[in-house]
């Protein structure tokens, strides 16, 4: 009997990688907690966990790439990857929805409630419900900050990300027409746009902390601003990393005009990150 292969479906052999990943997660959780609680040695455990996690990802994804290049993935496996990537992106949508929900709740409900009613009159009589705000308690204590404007770096970043959506589509056209030069150039441009975006985002954060007084602790505005843009930025980082892998694989001659779902999955992800940014730009930066 064949061990794990059907003529219809590819079944992988037992794999060491998942349990390596579990060890990494355990170390990351323990190390992360120790770091947050300022216990000595926590940072080293966290870094060890991260290192093992990267090792696992190299090993696991490398195995999948080798399987793919060996032609072991048929149409049906391709279908599974398409479904799973769609559902994964849906889960990401719901993750961001939680934070956008928090932004909506604070702007529309909790901040106005803090400026009305007898209790509030006793607690913080001077508080005006405006947005952006650091909240009644912080404002009463004299905390001040300047909100981030929309039409400087954020507008440029919007342009960058929207352009990167174009370049990755252009790269995809190249791949489908077997124009490898166009594919590689398009991917390289997308990576470059992603990196410039990240650079500007870092610059914006430094500007916010050092000149605007806008920090993670700046009330609900600071919290929602940094958590939304921060998680988005993290997704851009992950997306750019995936694009770099796609670029490397393209240069190495991977993918065919018909068979390249890894590329498509990354481009779906990249477009998703794009859409989140546009919503962010409107709700976090613009409409204040």
């Amino acid at each position: 009997m064949s061990l794990a292969q059907t003529d219809k479906y590819y079944l992988p052999q037992p794999s060491i990688w998942p349990i390596v990943g579990s060890v990494a997660l355990l170390l990351m959780a323990v190390g992360g907690t120790m770091t947050m609680r300022e216990i000595d040695g926590g940072l080293w455990i966290l870094l060890a966990g991260l290192a093992i996690m990267f090792y696992m990802m190299f090993g696991w994804f490398g195995e999948v790439i080798r399987d793919s290049e060996a032609g072991r993935f048929n149409k049906q496996v391709d279908g599974s990857y398409r479904w799973s990537m769609s559902w994964f992106i849906f889960s990401e949508v719901m993750f961001f929805a939680a934070f956008f929900g928090a932004l909506f709740y604070t702007r529309v409900l909790s901040v106005p409630w803090l400026a009305e009613g007898d209790t509030m009159q006793q607690l913080w009589p001077a508080f005006q419900a405006t947005w952006p705000t650091a909240g009644p308690g912080l404002t009463a204590d004299g905390f001040q900050f300047t909100p981030m404007g929309a039409w400087g770096i954020p507008a440029i970043n919007t342009l960058l990300l929207l352009s990167s959506g174009v370049t990755i589509t252009w790269a995809h056209w190249g791949l489908k027409k077997d124009k490898r030069g166009q594919l590689i150039l398009g991917l390289a441009m997308t990576v470059a746009l992603g990196l410039v975006f990240l650079g500007l985002q870092i610059y914006e954060y430094i500007h916010a902390y050092e000149e605007l007084g806008l920090t993670l602790g700046a009330g609900v505005y600071g919290a929602t601003f940094f958590m939304l843009t921060g998680f988005h930025g993290f997704h851009v980082l992950v997306g750019t990393t995936m694009l770099v892998v796609m670029l490397g694989r393209s240069i190495a001659g991977h993918f065919t005009a018909e068979h390249h779902f890894a590329f498509e999955a990354v481009s779906w992800y990249w477009h998703f990150v794009d859409v989140v940014w546009v919503i962010l730009f409107v709700l976090v930066y613009w409409l204040i």
Partner: protein, 526 residues
């Protein structure tokens, strides 16, 4: 794909790992299903022992065995572990074993990710359980993790938040795997509306998990940053609101309630037709009812929060939308009864548990309707009535369906019939014990006894004593279950492929025990 076949030949010579490495590296859905089920069983005994400690403390008023803070740790951990460590992994175990067998698929769509989805659960379990030994003890803020209390605790609160992240990751990976398997790996001819109802309920459950687990991740991330990084999501001084946590949390946790019960509906819908020897009554309406429950579950969350203060219009909306769920749930209950109507019924242990499920879950459903009435809820909120309600749906609902499913499929998994006499002892002791524990809690709640307290007023003594006696009967009868399972694994009467006279479906066409690899060539379903 002839290339694939050749490539495989080079690949196929690897020796399969043995011993512990077999279990650590396995990509086999049956191995992984068994690990999920064993994990759930171990956690059941761990969290069950906590429940017995709670009941022992509550045997009489005054403080007997525990310190109040330790009592709070027990109730919190009992809830967290029973939900995330017992019921959910057990259903994942059923999904792993049964979904490929029922669909005629060779395995799950992503066998390696399947392994990882399981093997991060023990990591989360370790983070949770080890916090009992840390300074300050385990989390004591209730399984709902409400701020501000949850923001004030010590190191175990951080560990719990990360454990919740990891369990969510496990659920999301597991669900993506299950959904993809169902949508993409059905045997030729097995259309969606021909799928066994268990598969349907898991398809919808997986959708709920993917939709809500990330929301929970967002909520606990906000707790984590409020605790450690100076954000003010849940702090009014910074413009935030602790009630916001409740909104986000219950947006996750109400669908979670259906995540804990829809697979149970699926299991019961497999068992009742088998032992009534009739096809399931109203198959299509069962599918639509399941989907309706799932969709409605997203618009009822604030019925958990009637006492936090909200506009009357919102209370009315959440009250009526909650009551609306009784309609599809009623459809299901009537369909099960109609399936049994004029059936040629026999009462083996799986059927006994399934019938108990229908009766007792319905009691839990009715007390849910009572709690849905906003003005009544304001009286009953955070009393033992609520404890009675959710234990009727989770113990005699979810847990009984798990027992029913284990007895039903154990012969297929082990190749041996379980001991029917011991199974019946387990059933009767469980069903009697369970009612002795939880039925008096309705009266306690109506009389005003609050939940989550280690001490109580004298007039509540008798009912608490009855409940504690029931709890020990119920708890210790689970040792019979453990014994029955071990006995069936070690030997016993050989099971036929079909096992049950009235069983229908692809899983009954493979030998018992099911071979390590099944359906390597897909069967054709007419």
């Amino acid at each position: 794909m002839s290339d694939a076949a050749h490539a495989h030949d080079d690949h196929g010579h690897h020796a399969h790992p043995t011993g512990i490495m077999r279990w650590l590296t396995t990509t086999n859905h049956k191995d992984i299903g068994s690990m999920y089920l064993w994990f759930a069983l171990i956690m059941l005994f761990a969290a069950g022992s906590m429940a017995l400690l709670i009941r022992a403390e509550l045997f009489q008023p005054g403080m007997q065995l525990t310190h109040p803070d330790f009592f709070n740790q027990l109730t919190t951990m009992h809830g967290l572990i029973m939900i995330f460590g017992v019921i959910m992994p057990a259903f994942s175990g059923f999904a792993n074993w049964q979904v490929p067998l029922m669909l005629g698929a060779p395995d799950m769509a992503f066998p390696r990710m399947n392994n990882w989805a399981f093997w991060i659960l023990p990591v989360a379990g370790l983070l949770l359980m080890s916090s009992f030994l840390l300074p300050g003890g385990a989390v004591a803020g209730g399984w709902t993790m409400y701020p501000p209390l949850f923001i004030q605790g010590g190191i175990s609160y951080d560990l719990t938040i990360l454990a919740v992240h990891i369990m969510g990751l496990s659920s999301i990976m597991g669900s993506i795997n299950i959904i993809t398997t169902i949508l993409n790996m059905r045997a030729p001819g097995l259309t969606l509306m021909k799928m066994p109802l268990f598969v349907w309920t898991w398809l919808i459950t997986a959708y709920l998990l993917i939709a809500t687990m990330p929301v929970l991740a967002g909520a606990v991330t906000m707790l984590l940053t409020d605790r450690n990084f100076g954000t003010h999501f849940f702090n009014a001084a910074g413009g935030g609101d602790p009630v916001m946590f409740q909104h986000i949390f219950w947006f996750f946790a109400h669908p979670e309630v259906y995540i804990l019960i829809l697979p149970a509906f699926g299991i019961v819908s497999q068992i009742i037709p088998t032992f009534a020897r009739k096809p399931l009554f109203g198959y299509a309406s069962m599918v639509y009812a399941t989907a309706s429950i799932a969709i409605l579950s997203f618009i009822v969350w604030a019925h958990h929060m009637f006492t936090v203060g909200m506009p009357a219009a919102a209370q009315l909306f959440f009250m009526f939308s909650t009551m609306l769920i009784a309609v599809p749930t009623g459809v299901k209950v009537f369909n099960w009864v109609a399936t049994m109507w004029k059936g040629s019924m026999t009462f083996e242990t799986p059927m006994l548990f399934a019938i108990a499920f229908v009766c007792l879950f319905t009691i839990g459903g009715f007390s849910g309707l009572v709690l849905a009435i906003a003005p009544v809820d304001i009286q009953l909120h955070d009393t033992y009535y609520v404890v009675a309600h959710f234990h009727y749906v989770l113990v005699s609902g979810a847990l009984f369906s798990i027992f029913a499913g284990i007895y039903y499929w154990l012969p297929k998994w082990t190749g041996h019939m379980y001991d029917e006499t011991l199974g019946k002892w387990h059933f009767w002791l469980s069903v009697i014990g369970m009612n002795i524990v939880f039925f008096p809690m309705h009266f306690l709640g109506l009389a005003g006894m609050p939940r989550r307290i280690p001490d109580y007023a004298l007039q509540f003594t008798e009912f608490n004593q009855i409940a504690t006696v029931g709890a020990f009967i119920f708890g210790f009868s689970q040792l019979i279950f453990l014994w029955v399972v071990l006995k069936a694994i070690r030997g016993g009467e050989k099971a036929t492929s079909k096992v049950w006279e009235g069983a229908e479906g692809l899983e009954w066409t493979v030998p018992s025990p099911a071979p390590y690899h099944t359906f390597e060539t897909a069967p054709v379903v007419k």
